[in-house]
Symmetry: C2
Subunit: 238 residues, 2 copies
DNA sequence: GAGTGGTCTAGACCACGCA
DNA sequence: GCGTGGTCTAGACCACTCT
């Protein structure tokens, strides 16, 4: 690993600004000072400041609106769904899930969970198991693992909202900005039959997702089993 | 639909440059004139030209290298695979497919094909059916539909390369820059059993892909059936 | 009209690749 | 040492929003 002997100014400013946003110097949805003010504050030109703010906007970290100002991006419910929930009808229209039943337990972390979430040893985790409805029918069986120390008290919030990521942000200061997903096909087992009404042996889409914060910290591991014969998982690669 | 009464200069320059790249004014892999030269040629400042070139770089249309120049992005085989082929091992390591058997036919387009590829009526299509190997085993069964007029003569090129997108680019001047995919789980049928050695009823990942050019023209429709028990389809959302 | 982000320019200097 | 892209600045003007 070569350490860069040269660090552009805008890179340094970028790191400072990301740090500030991550630390919550400004709340989600709140407006930042103007370009001018920030540039003065950090002792750089307005052009350099702009480069930084534009970069952060491109990464969905900030939102800028001409005439209004620069705002910390907020995972509103719709936006959060729109970004990370990818199921569509054959026509390409997005569907949105509704809440089903849920159970929450706090327990010791298993080895695999420690590994997937980079948890320290002896860490406790929160396990959320829930179903979600698509088109009025139970269609998704989800197991969600969270670090108990990061999400202290989430087990007492019942019922949980449908879009957990906005809850993470508003109540725990944790802003999910990217996810890594792996998809595998599977066939319905007895659990799927019981919870989703899927015939044994029916095709199931399994999604294994790790959700990460700004600083690339892995904070949620989610396993979803989806039985939705008429829907597909849509993604655009470019 | 409001028509924008105001068109920034860099937008106009962007459109001109994209048009030039699309028309093949410079070949894939070739270098463009320098920022300075292009700016002079189009009568804008170097800063504006830079903004355009940077935007095109961000869209994988150009590549820029300090000290060397600006180049038309080329879908080299590895790059093309890296971008659009998403299968990974449980550890997250990418696997690359190898060529299997293939058949090519030219025939009249079906209604569904006309619709998916926005083809004019009476258009003929080329249908490529092939298998691809993963880890030495037949694992992917693919049906590829192309407009016969765009890819005239491709049916005589046997064997076809593993990475079709570089062939489209080098021999037909068609540069795939984005794809829209829909994933659905399915269970193995007799074809899958025969061609891939999948047990009847085994889980199969189906991918329905439309590939698009720079101008958002839909040029390829590809249906893949994947039987790969130890692999997953990986994607990062951000 | 005041304040914000958005565009555009001109010019200086830096880092990199290559001959 | 030259030419390339990469960084940084200072300043002008434009478009949008709100009051």
């Amino acid at each position: 690993m070569e350490f860069p002997g040269y660090r552009p100014l805008y890179r340094q400013v970028y790191d400072i600004m990301v740090e500030k946003v991550a630390k919550g110097v400004w709340r989600a949805g709140e407006s930042l000072p103007s370009e001018q003010a920030l540039a003065r504050e950090l002792g750089v030109s307005q052009g350099t400041m702009r480069k930084v703010l534009d970069a952060m906007t491109a990464e969905n970290l900030l939102e800028r609106h001409q005439g209004k100002g620069t705002f910390v991006a907020s995972n509103t419910q719709e936006r959060s769904l729109f970004r990370f929930f990818r199921m569509v009808t054959p026509d390409g229209e997005r569907v949105t899930p509704a809440r089903g039943v849920e159970t929450v337990v706090v327990r010791a972390a298993r080895t695999i969970e420690q590994k997937r979430l980079d948890l320290p040893k002896k860490q406790r985790v929160i396990e959320i198991t829930r179903t979600r409805l698509l088109e009025g029918r139970p269609a998704i069986l989800e197991t969600i693992i969270l670090s108990a120390s990061l999400f202290q008290g989430i087990e007492t919030r019942r019922p949980l909202p449908n879009t957990l990521y906005s809850l993470y942000q508003t109540d725990f200061g944790i802003n999910i900005i990217s996810t890594e997903e792996q998809l595998r096909p599977d066939i319905a087992n007895k659990d799927d039959q019981k919870m989703l009404g899927a015939p044994l042996g029916a095709p199931i889409q399994c999604i294994d997702r790790i959700a990460k914060t700004l600083q690339d910290r892995k904070v949620e591991w989610r396993l979803s089993r989806i039985y939705a014969p008429n829907l597909a998982y849509a993604v655009t690669l470019s």
